[in-house]
Assembly symmetry: C2
Homo-oligomer: 158 residues x 2
Amino acid sequence: MKNAYNLKDFGLKATVPRLKILELFESGEAQHLSAEDVYRQLVSEGIDVGFATVYRVLTQFELAGVLQRQYFDSNKAIFEINRGEHHDHIVCLDCGAVEEFNDEEIERLQVNAARRRQFELSDHSLCLYAHCRKQNCIHLTSDAKQGAKKFEDSDEQT
Amino acid sequence: MKNAYNLKDFGLKATVPRLKILELFESGEAQHLSAEDVYRQLVSEGIDVGFATVYRVLTQFELAGVLQRQYFDSNKAIFEINRGEHHDHIVCLDCGAVEEFNDEEIERLQVNAARRRQFELSDHSLCLYAHCRKQNCIHLTSDAKQGAKKFEDSDEQT
DNA sequence: CTTGTTGCAAATATTTTGCACCCAT
DNA sequence: ATGGGTGCAAAATATTTGCAACAAG
């Protein structure tokens, strides 16, 4: 597991915007950020940065493998740090909370599904859209929360 | 399996743009189209349509359940017809070919993965990015095609 | 110093909205 | 006829690019 990245390793100069953006993702405070989220965060820290720089840095970091770009069923890119461990996402449709998970069995079946169709799997993106059962979940439809109760005691294991 | 949709069932008037767009998707000629693809197609058929109408119709069809909107790892929406059968996608990273597939086992594991994390699964999007082994695949990296050979005789089944 | 990097503004790309005119019912 | 639907243009949203000024090495 990669814990810290060094800009120099990628031939990138250690500038304020880069260091701050890297710090933002490595700190783990926020895990899934849009370019605008990053921009706002830097501005709120009193850093004079432009949108263009944020986008350029995010793209450089993605190319360097420091960040990963995702699209959670929208036309807006979401970035997260690459800690070297693959994972998929589960997003709460009500409160927007994002959790990461990894299921070895699903991973394995994907490789097979691809092979069976004459494809060599290179990568994949899996995002589960669901209703969480957190107390503080700002659910829009109360049905969702009530419906969730049905599953409370029927937890299956693989 | 739904074979044909009737606009009137959704309270939508049978206008030229709507009928042509529906026909385009139902014909099955092209399965995964962006708004621009649809626009270009209509224009090439000599239909005087505007971009706004295309977007409005696509959105109406999505709300009616006629079409499904997807984002294949880009900031551009891709639409496809909803034939009532859920499926996931596998996209060739070289030639861009899109194939649909469905794996019951993966589907089942997703529900469990969500439950185990206290989520009630509502929907999901799974897209496999891979290298196909079609003869006519316009591969950008010959490595990809050579690498694929490794798997030619090692096809596993679930 | 020298070259990469930045902020700003303008340009692109994708999608949405306002509005007057038009056509399916 | 009339209310929904359309095309066009402008706006909104997301991202990229040109460029002169600037700062890291």
